[in-house]
Symmetry: D2
Subunit: 108 residues, 4 copies
């Protein structure tokens, strides 16, 4: 039987995996980053056991292509989720790891 | 050689196909529909030759699951795009066709 | 500090969240379900710490629309993932819960 | 009133936009590129008026991250669709344009 804390960690993973793969590839620019961040936050906040979601897109990475925008990539996303599973609180984050060149998800 | 008008129609199709398949599956509720609509609009507006995008989610279809939200389905989306390809204007829409039970995309 | 088992549970959640939100909305039919299952399995198998992924789409739910296909919904997906995080093994599944009418993810 | 050819061009655009935004972000490697290509082809082939879809992922661009895989990006995808709308045949492609550094979609 998993512990409550393991279940909370599992739920945190679901939210970050969902956030990432639902929105990766979305056209985005510095002008529209704010509305995409807000939609991402509010969307994932609806999922079960979520207490908080904060999403922040790295404006420095939003380089413009020839048509003046780019597409959301994993390395551009910073996110933190807080899960409350039956009183057990767990936090996790998604953050670009420059050394590994990988958008890393981890429990806090 | 395609005509400018055919190219404009092609571009309109790209935008509706992108809008649909980028955001379908996003968690959404009546409370968050507004932020998702706005992000969808602003995101697709960035793509080439777009003059206007309007997205409206059908609140009547946003039925709550056991956790109080639902996921975006094609039949919930109404959208209209206006393309300007070298002066050739084309409009197209995505709208649920109840008779066909299908989220239909069409040129206007 | 999270335990290895909590991290393994977190990783399992990531995989199911990713699987779900990457592929939900894909056009699918009984004829093409096999290739989609295989791509889903092989794709998610690449992610860190995955030991096994099995995906099975419920053919009984693949009802044809007016054009002879449907789109992948959460309730159609059955999946099981096995994570090995530094020797700690965790299994989790995604399965439609008919009583809740919800595609439920859970640790095994 | 749009011509049949404009509608066929519109339908071609829908397919490429759908293909791109449904599958962008999928974990992929040289070993799994074949199953993803096949699923992409078969999935989009189901959509209305499609006569043929060919998808080819550029193996040279599938660089491995620290965990031995990458995620599907637009520039890695080559695709060609053939639409038959009431006898009007239209072909379109998605191909990385190196000069523009952009995954360009165009009518053939």
């Amino acid at each position: 039987m998993p512990t409550k804390r393991e279940i909370a960690a599992f739920e945190a993973g679901i939210k970050l995996g969902a956030l990432y793969h639902q929105f990766v590839g979305s056209p985005v620019s510095i002008k529209t980053a704010g509305s995409l961040e807000r939609a991402m936050q509010e969307s994932i906040s609806l999922q079960p056991y979520v207490r908080k979601v904060v999403v922040s897109l790295n404006r420095h990475m939003l380089n413009e292509n020839v048509f003046g925008y780019c597409e959301l990539e994993g390395r551009m996303m910073n996110a933190e989720v807080e899960i409350d599973y039956e009183g057990e609180l767990v936090r996790a984050k998604l953050e670009y790891d420059a050394a590994k060149n990988y958008p890393l998800m981890s429990l806090l």
